[in-house]
C-alpha cells in the first residue's frame, strides 16, 4: 500500500525537495479543509486528477494508487456511513482520498534520502531546543524500512500458530511478536553502529 519513489526526469522530479514538500503540503491542507458537499468532493478528486496529469504521472499511476488505497477508501466510507448522511460521508472520503493522492506525489517523485535531507534542513532550528534533526529523520527512514519486515514477522508467527493447531489467540501472538521485534531492533542497532550512524 505504501507509495514508493518512481524514477523519472520530469519537472516534479527535478524540483528541490524542500520547496516541493511545502507546496504539496499546502495543497494537501487546502483539499482537506474543503467543505463536505458534493461539489467540493468533485473539486478534491478533480484536483488530484489534474495534479497527476500536469506532473506527467498520468492516469495509470493514479489508478494504481487508488487500487492501493481501496481498503482505506472502504473503511473510511463505511465507518462514516454509519454515523453520517450520505453526502458528508462521501465528501469526507473524497477529501481524504484526494489529499492522500496529492501527498503521494511527493513520495513518487522524491527519493527518501533527498526528502530526509530537506526535512533535516527544515528542522534545523529545532537544534536550539536540543532536538537533533538528523536523528529524527533517521528514525523516520528506519520506520519506513521496518514496517514490511515486521509485517513479515507477524505473518510468520500466525503461520507457526496455525501449523501447531493453536487458535488465533491474541496473547499467543503478542509475546512472540514483541520478542522478535525487540530482537530485530537490537540487530538493527548493531547494524547502525557498524555502518557509522550511531
Amino acid at each position: 500500500m505504501l507509495t514508493l519513489y518512481r524514477p523519472g526526469t520530469g519537472w516534479l522530479h527535478r524540483a528541490p525537495a524542500g520547496a516541493k514538500a511545502l507546496v504539496i503540503l499546502a495543497a494537501v491542507l487546502t483539499v482537506s479543509l474543503l467543505p463536505s458537499t458534493y461539489p467540493f468532493a468533485a473539486i478534491a478528486l478533480g484536483s488530484a486528477l489534474v495534479a497527476y496529469l500536469v506532473t506527467g504521472f498520468g492516469v495509470a499511476v493514479l489508478a494504481r494508487q487508488l487500487v492501493g488505497l481501496r481498503w482505506v477508501i472502504l473503511i473510511t466510507l463505511g465507518a462514516q456511513l454509519i454515523f453520517l448522511p450520505t453526502e458528508p460521508a462521501v465528501a469526507n472520503t473524497s477529501r481524504v482520498v484526494g489529499a492522500v493522492l496529492i501527498a503521494s506525489l511527493l513520495v513518487l517523485s522524491t527519493r527518501v534520502v533527498d526528502l530526509l535531507d530537506a526535512f533535516e534542513r527544515g528542522l534545523g532550528p529545532l537544534r536550539r531546543v536540543g532536538i537533533d534533526p538528523a536523528r529524527v529523520s533517521l528514525v523516520l527512514a528506519i520506520t519506513m524500512t521496518t514496517i514490511p519486515v515486521l509485517t513479515r514477522v507477524a505473518t510468520s508467527i500466525r503461520e507457526a500458530q496455525r501449523a501447531r493447531g493453536a487458535g488465533r489467540g491474541i496473547r499467543s501472538f503478542i509475546i512472540p511478536f514483541l520478542v522478535l521485534s525487540l530482537k530485530h531492533a537490537d540487530d538493527l542497532g548493531d547494524a547502525l553502529t557498524a555502518r557509522g550512524a550511531a
Partner: protein, 236 residues
C-alpha cells in the same frame, strides 16, 4: 592470486581479553596476534565466535584486557575506527536501514559528507560491482535473501574498509548465494577479513584459522590443521 601479492594488512591484537555478557563469561582470557589477510574463526555454537567478532568490531567492550585493531581502540568508536572496519551479520533483513536499494547503499556514505554527485557515482559503481544495478530503485524488502545479503555487503564495502568482519554471513543463504557472498569476501586481498563460519570449506580458503571452545581460543594455525583438530573433537 599469489599470497605474497597482498598488501601488508594491519594487526589485530588481543591481550588477556575477556567479555562478560550478563553473568555469562562469553569470552575467556584471549590473547592473540593476527596479521594474516584472511582469518577464519570456527567452533561450535556458543563457543564465543560472535563475541570475539563483536569485540574486534567494537560492538561489545572487553570487561578485562585490551584490544587493538590496526592500532585503533574499538571502544572509542572514533570515526576513524568506523571507517576502517566493516561488519557483516547473518540476518540479511536486519542490516537494511533505508527503504530502497540505492538509498541503503548511499546510507553508508552519509557520515562522510560527500558531494551529491560523488556519492551517487560511488553508489552506482558499488551496485554495479555486486550485480544490484538493475534493482537500484526497488524497495529493499522486495529483494531475495541472497540479494539482501549482497546489499549488506555493498553497504559495508562501499566505505572501503581496511578490515571486514563477517559473522556467519552465509548462514541464511542457499549454496549458490553462499558461494557468491564468499567469492566477494575472499576475493579481495587488499583488505583484511575475519570470517566466522560453520562452512569448513570456506574456512579452508583462509590464510589462518582460530578455534573456539567454551569461550576460549583453544588453537590457532594453518586452516587444514585447525579444521582437522575441530573435526576430530566432533567425532567419537
Amino acid at each position: 592470486m599469489t599470497p605474497g601479492a597482498a598488501a601488508s594488512p594491519g594487526i589485530l591484537t588481543l591481550t588477556h581479553a575477556s567479555v562478560h555478557l550478563g553473568d555469562q563469561l562469553a569470552l575467556d582470557d584471549v590473547s592473540v596476534n593476527l596479521d594474516q589477510p584472511r582469518i577464519a574463526v570456527i567452533g561450535s555454537n556458543g563457543s564465543g565466535k560472535s563475541t570475539f567478532a563483536r569485540l574486534l568490531g567494537g560492538l561489545v567492550t572487553a570487561s578485562a584486557g585490551t584490544v587493538s585493531v590496526h592500532g585503533l581502540d574499538p571502544t572509542r568508536q572514533s570515526t576513524e575506527f568506523r571507517r576502517a572496519v566493516g561488519f557483516i551479520f547473518s540476518n540479511p533483513d536486519a542490516q537494511i536501514i533505508m527503504p530502497t536499494v540505492a538509498e541503503d547503499a548511499a546510507f553508508s556514505l552519509r557520515a562522510d559528507r560527500l558531494r551529491k554527485a560523488e556519492s551517487a557515482a560511488r553508489v552506482t559503481a558499488a551496485l554495479e560491482r555486486f550485480g544490484l544495478a538493475d534493482l537500484a530503485d526497488r524497495p529493499a524488502h522486495d529483494l531475495s535473501g541472497g540479494q539482501k545479503q549482497l546489499l549488506a555487503l555493498c553497504g559495508a564495502l562501499i566505505r572501503e574498509p581496511r578490515l571486514v568482519i563477517a559473522d556467519e554471513p552465509t548462514a541464511y543463504l542457499d549454496a549458490r548465494n553462499s558461494r557468491l557472498i564468499a567469492d566477494h569476501l575472499l576475493g579481495d586481498a587488499s583488505r583484511q577479513l575475519v570470517l566466522v563460519t560453520h562452512d569448513l570449506a570456506l574456512a579452508a580458503c583462509c590464510d589462518v584459522a582460530v578455534l573456539f571452545e567454551g569461550g576460549r581460543m583453544i588453537a590457532s594455525g594453518h586452516p587444514t590443521e585447525i579444521i582437522g583438530r575441530y573435526e576430530s573433537s566432533l567425532a567419537c
